[in-house]
Amino acid sequence: MVLGIYPGCSLKGSSREYTESVLAVAKAFDIEIKEILDWNCCGATAAHNLSKELALALPARILALAENQGLDEIVVPCAACYSRLSGTQHELNQHPELKSKVVEAIGMEYKGTVGILNIVQMIDKYITPNIESKIVKPFDHKLACYYGCLLVRPKEVLKFDREEDPQSMDTLMSKLGAKPIDWAFKTECCGAGLTMSRTKTVARLSGEIVKDAADRGAEAIIVACPMCHSNLDMRRKEINEYNDQKINIPVLYTTQAIGLAIGLDRESLGLQRHFVKVEI
Amino acid sequence: MSEFEPKVVAFVCNWCTYAGADLTGTSRIKYATNVRIVRFPCTGRIDYMLLMKSFAEGVDGIIVSGCHPNDCHYTSGNFQARRRWIVFRNLCDFMGIDIRRIQFSWVSAAEGAKWADVVNTTVTTIRELGPYTDYKKVANYFEKEVSHG
């Protein structure tokens, strides 16, 4: 079983532990992960502010690379990259004239047939079915599953989970033996890309999220997006200042939670890289 | 030689365009005399072969007009007609029949002025295009080849 991966910038930089945990979990489930060679930026939030064609061409090139490298299906762990890639595929499939324009721009053959999975879909499809027998240490904790904005939106494109009240991560965590809490901030904004430029805003937005999770007794927050992770974890100092309260519940990637449940080595999951110590 | 006077025939539905053309009259809005109106109960009744026969008999331009979408007296005759027109017009074009000579329009019973405008612009267009000699040449084979025999 071979699966392509598009890491994107975060997974190679600030969120290396996400990559590490994805690879570690994949390995444990005999999934061979092949990185797309020569990949480029997905365009993130900047490209579509500049030019629509650019915003489509960047992800299209990545998808074309995957096709040309013989990958039928890829996993895109970053929610933002995932949104860009699947959005582009959808748009180009809908509009043949845009497609031919973009194909000309990237100078590569592009069919638009690669299967694109976000991390939750990937887990759902390839890991969940075999997980029960592999669990060595049930992840018996109260967890706040935090989806953020991009993982399940827009509905028309993703056709995955309920956009206003998603459930997929909660279901997954229950399977690990955890107790997901019912809370109010599942899809609230974490501040996203403002993490550098307007730290105060991020502290306020992420602060509300962390506080609600803590108030409801969550022992950890589970995320599926490197940006969410950065804001909730790396900005904890600012968050605690905003809340005027020391909250030290850790923020874990879905893959890290799985890794812990199936008894993988903590270091292989990159847990030591977190700002908020992971002590569960 | 006098100026070319296009022959234009209009196929219209009774409930919207025919009534709209009545309103043009009651409002005394003038338009070109070149048009002859044929009344049908509904655009759904308009037979595309009548359009073909009209060209064969020497018209230079055709207007087909009925109720706006959703206004059909029979609720959906115009929707049925529209679908037929889309294919008809495409096939005409494919066979080299000059579709600039067929004007389709929605003219409601309240659009007297629009009717005058549709007629006038169609007549002007046809005047510029000139007589439909291509079709006439094909249609008049009788005169050319047989009548002297």
């Binding site: - | 064969a56 027109w85 889309i86 017009r89 005409c92 494919f94 066979m95 080299g96 084979y141």
Partner: protein, 266 residues
């Protein structure tokens, strides 16, 4: 093929059907329709790429109906025609047995029309690339050029109506071309009447044509008249999302969507 022959024989022997309609070697390099009524004659049956006749055309003929329940050898275009005809109320499950042939020349028997319909979902009507090219070429011409093209192509037509006879969808008892009150189609086989005839034929087949090319194959002077029906096929695809023969009815040209798009109505 052997499988098909075996089954055909069986069917005739048991009396399950009275006739097997299939293909056989004709004169020269041509194939023709075979109407096998005796089990020992099934060896005459053949199937290869030369079998382009749409056999469905015979199903509606009174002479064939008289014989009794038929089984029909049916490659994809015939299957499509059968479903279209069934949707037009021309026959039901009870009076037909279908010996299907897949594009890979494999034999597959269908017991129910509904199964044929499901099977055809994998074989939607698709205009061949070669024909698409010709259509595109014509599209690129000016109106005058297209007009001249068709006047020239159609002028040798002498209205033998082989196209009509070969078409499974042309099963009217009285064709409009034979009406004289009013005279819809100019009688002499001259350009005008030819244009009118072929135009009307294409319109009548719009949304019903199964793209079997039987009409063009039948034309003794090789007029590419299937281009006309292919054009309607293409237009219906562009404007209404295309169609496939379906038992549940809802013919594409006798239904509509309130939001059908056009750009020419003022």
């Amino acid at each position: 093929m052997d499988e098909l022959k075996k089954r055909a024989k069986e069917l005739l022997e048991t009396g399950a059907v009275k006739v097997v309609i299939g293909y056989e070697q004709g004169t020269g390099n041509k194939t023709r329709a075979a109407f096998i009524q005796k089990p020992e004659e099934v060896s005459r049956l053949i199937f290869d790429s030369r079998c382009v006749l749409n056999l469905a055309v015979y199903l509606n003929k009174p002479e064939v109906k008289q014989i009794g329940k038929p089984a029909i050898v049916a490659p994809i275009p015939v299957l499509r025609a059968i479903i279209q005809l069934a949707s037009e109320n021309q026959f039901t499950d009870d009076n037909l047995l279908i010996l299907g042939i897949t594009p890979e020349s494999k034999f597959v028997e269908f017991n129910k029309l509904a199964d044929v319909e499901t099977y055809l979902d994998q074989h939607l009507i698709e205009i061949e690339a070669r024909d698409k090219e010709i259509l595109e070429k014509l599209d690129k011409m000016s109106v005058e050029e297209r007009w001249n093209f068709w006047v020239e192509e159609l002028s040798p037509c002498f209205k033998c109506y082989a196209c009509r006879a070969a078409c499974p969808m042309c099963y009217c008892h009285r064709c409009t071309v034979e009406m004289n009150q009013p005279q819809w189609i100019s009688v002499p086989s001259h350009q005008l009447g030819n244009i009118e005839w072929h135009f009307m034929r294409a319109m009548h087949l719009a949304g019903r044509c199964v793209d079997c090319n039987a009409c063009a194959n039948a034309c003794p002077i090789a007029i590419p008249l299937n281009l006309l029906t292919k054009k309607t096929l293409e237009e219906i695809k562009v404007s209404f999302g295309g169609y496939k023969p379906t038992l549940t009815g809802g013919h594409i040209m006798s239904t509509f969507k309130p939001n059908d798009k056009e750009n020419f109505i003022r």
